[in-house]
Symmetry: C2
Subunit: 428 residues, 2 copies
């Protein structure tokens, strides 16, 4: 590989010194896939620039704990610059506006374009409202740190409002989507309603605070084994979650959710946890797209028409055969993208990506989780819950976050009724 | 004392049941003074309603650690409803708009008026810009949680911006005010510039990132013993803080600070730490006001014209003889206000408040602080720093916050260069 063929004058002010003769790898996105790619590129003779629109990486599997006030936003985010410094990469903050595969440049909303020799597209996907009217306007996703904080802030300020005015003695939360995020939110909110609410809001009636989980298909947690799905549903019901299966959402209104069968569910807050799709912007990049707008790549994660472009994580799909949009596939794809680049740089043949399924987990509440370990046991209850805790704590970046999340979850689940909640500000 | 003379119909929806025959004490403000008052009223046969515009109490002495990314906002704030639940009080969220001493009512921005038998005004003060042109528009105070977050977010996003665009290789922060807050911010920022910045922003030149502390008088930390003041100044200079004494600020501009002598200091961010004054709104309450708009009370903290109204904390001044606007005077006044109410309820004479000065402390940076202990030693260096740490951790509310702050400060000061910073979002 050659170095940048034509160092562009407008790039002179950036951190990326074009005097470096090594091939330049630009990695878009500081999520699971992007970070895994940067880390795995360490042994390869390339210079790496990591790009993200935030200056931190978010540990998405614990966002619902931020939304429900057990953890602080800083406990599950990790500074992208610290990560870059420790892996020998550069960091550039900015949102990707355009990719020009012909010129091999990436344009950001701020600063000069980046020229690449290899590009790893790993900047993920965004909430998919599936065109449901009112969803984008009135429902709250929990996909970014700011969104999790918005849920938290909206929830406390609404409860404080009705407690102050006496306008209502209760409120309903409708969660749309019976995947892991929906189940975790529903279980946690129901538990808070049962334990913390009576202590903190004696003005309100817990019986009038409803937590409803709406799922379009006939089951929650579809990828899990039937035994685990049944356990999860039973645990949710035991906590007082109203489960509505085979219920498609027709419209989201400011204070209700309208189902396809005509039922109107009262909803002072609607949480949207149904799925993700590629950003609209991807269309303009001139790359082949499959279901949900995901970029279609070959088995070595390269785009066939542009072999210097690789895709990893939720935004990519191999031969249009989608992997689950979870941390493990993203991490493994990120690692494989680095492997492919290393092979190309060394003039060796690339290899085909094989996903090693390690299983999947979801928490319902205190002492209650399901863990579907691939080629291993199907765990429920306390054992699954402790496994979930350990796996997530180890997967976090940085010892600070590991320690803070361990303690934050310990305070949540040990203190229960008297536990301290991280209280939000008014929505800005 | 009698119960509410005329239960008002619009109050029926609130948390405050007017059927309770005990005298109703309304405490405005969940700061040091208000919380101390609520806590100290526990043995008295009254019902208590705590009011605050936020649903949490903020531990202001550590806000600068939030502004500089060592602590999360939730680590130094404590849910007001949790506090109320544990002390047998009710909580009402709302901002005080009017106090009507004749009708004995408090109006809030949300919900029905509160009727009181006794009122403890402890809702503090607000940033005082002393009429300096541009200060309110362009300078950043650090007096609330939202303000501390704004400083953090603005700082990271500005550095990321210049790193991305290459427009500048440095930036200047001017801190106005040489009291404890100003000294702590200047020392902490200079230390971050020296240790973390080179690691995280290799694009920038630490020598071009200036930290300037501007003070109008000829000394920093005016209430401290001369030996301690000299130590603090020397420690600031050793960390590379540019100290500008006897420098009054004439104007704050978007990118600079103009001094009275005509000097224009470059300032990509100006932090305002000069002092506080009562909110403008207090004027409309018809209560006697002294210097800085503080409400003038008698020795037992009652307003002479309205003995059922008591004042505690920064917003009050006894016989126009001001106490320092710090945590200790506020806490002791809050306790004394409760004592006065207990005496009146019991038909006993009230006593005069006497401030027990325990001394004062300020931190410059890692292993460096000054502690001016009243009737005790004057400490500098590591010993003062450990004392500061212990005193502040014990003063926090709740074990969760104690543990999290201990660890947050430990990670900051032990990890130093490689320490994780809580990275901000873009300013909203």
């Amino acid at each position: 590989m050659t170095a940048d063929p034509s160092p562009r004058p407008q790039a002179s002010g950036t951190s990326i010194t074009n005097a470096d003769p090594r091939p330049h790898v630009v990695v878009l996105g500081a999520g699971f896939a992007g970070l895994a790619a940067v880390r795995s590129l360490r042994g390869t003779d390339v210079r790496v620039t990591l790009v993200d629109r935030h200056s931190y990486s978010t540990f998405q599997p614990l966002l619902y704990q931020v939304a429900t006030g057990a953890l602080n936003p800083g406990d599950i985010t990790y500074g992208a610059r610290g990560f870059a410094a420790h892996t020998g990469a550069s960091f550039r903050k900015g949102e990707v506006t355009t990719i020009d595969p012909e010129a091999r440049t990436v344009s950001l909303d701020v600063g000069p374009d980046l020229h690449y020799d290899y590009l790893v597209i790993a900047n993920g996907v965004t909430t998919n409202y599936f065109g449901v009217p009112g969803a984008a306007e009135h429902a709250f996703p929990i996909y970014t740190r700011a969104e999790a904080l918005a849920v938290r802030d909206r929830m406390t300020s609404y409860l404080d409002h009705i407690a102050a005015t006496g306008e209502a003695r209760g409120a309903s939360v409708v969660i749309v989507g019976g995947g892991a995020t929906g189940v975790e939110m529903a279980g946690t909110l129901a538990e808070l309603r049962n334990t913390v609410l009576p202590d903190r809001y004696p003005e309100l009636d817990p019986a009038e605070v409803n937590v409803v989980l709406v799922e379009m298909t006939d089951k929650i947690l579809p990828p899990f084994a039937p035994k685990l799905r049944e356990y999860a549903a039973q645990q949710l019901r035991r906590r007082g979650v109203e489960l509505r299966l085979e219920s498609a959402v027709k419209e989201v209104r400011p204070d209700s959710v309208l189902l396809a069968d005509g039922t109107e569910l009262s909803a002072q807050m609607t949480i949207w946890a149904t799925g993700v799709a590629a950003h609209e912007r991807v269309k303009s990049w001139g790359l082949p797209q499959g279901r949900g707008g995901r970029i279609v790549v070959g088995g070595d994660l390269r785009v066939p028409e542009h072999p210097e472009i690789l895709v990893a994580g939720d935004i990519g799909v191999i031969d249009d055969d989608p992997l689950p949009q979870l941390a493990q596939p993203a991490i493994q794809m990120g690692q494989h993208a680095a492997r492919t680049i290393a092979a190309v740089v060394a003039g060796e043949p690339t290899t085909r990506f094989r996903y090693k399924d390690k299983g999947t987990m979801a928490t319902i509440g205190r002492g209650s989780a399901v863990a579907d370990i691939a080629h291993g046991p199907k765990l429920v209850g306390v054992l699954a819950w402790l496994t979930w805790m350990l796996v997530h704590i180890f997967a976090l970046l940085g010892n600070r976050n590991r320690v803070f999340v361990t303690l934050g979850l310990a305070f949540r689940y040990l203190a229960q009724r008297r536990g301290q909640i991280v209280v939000g500000d008014d929505p800005g």
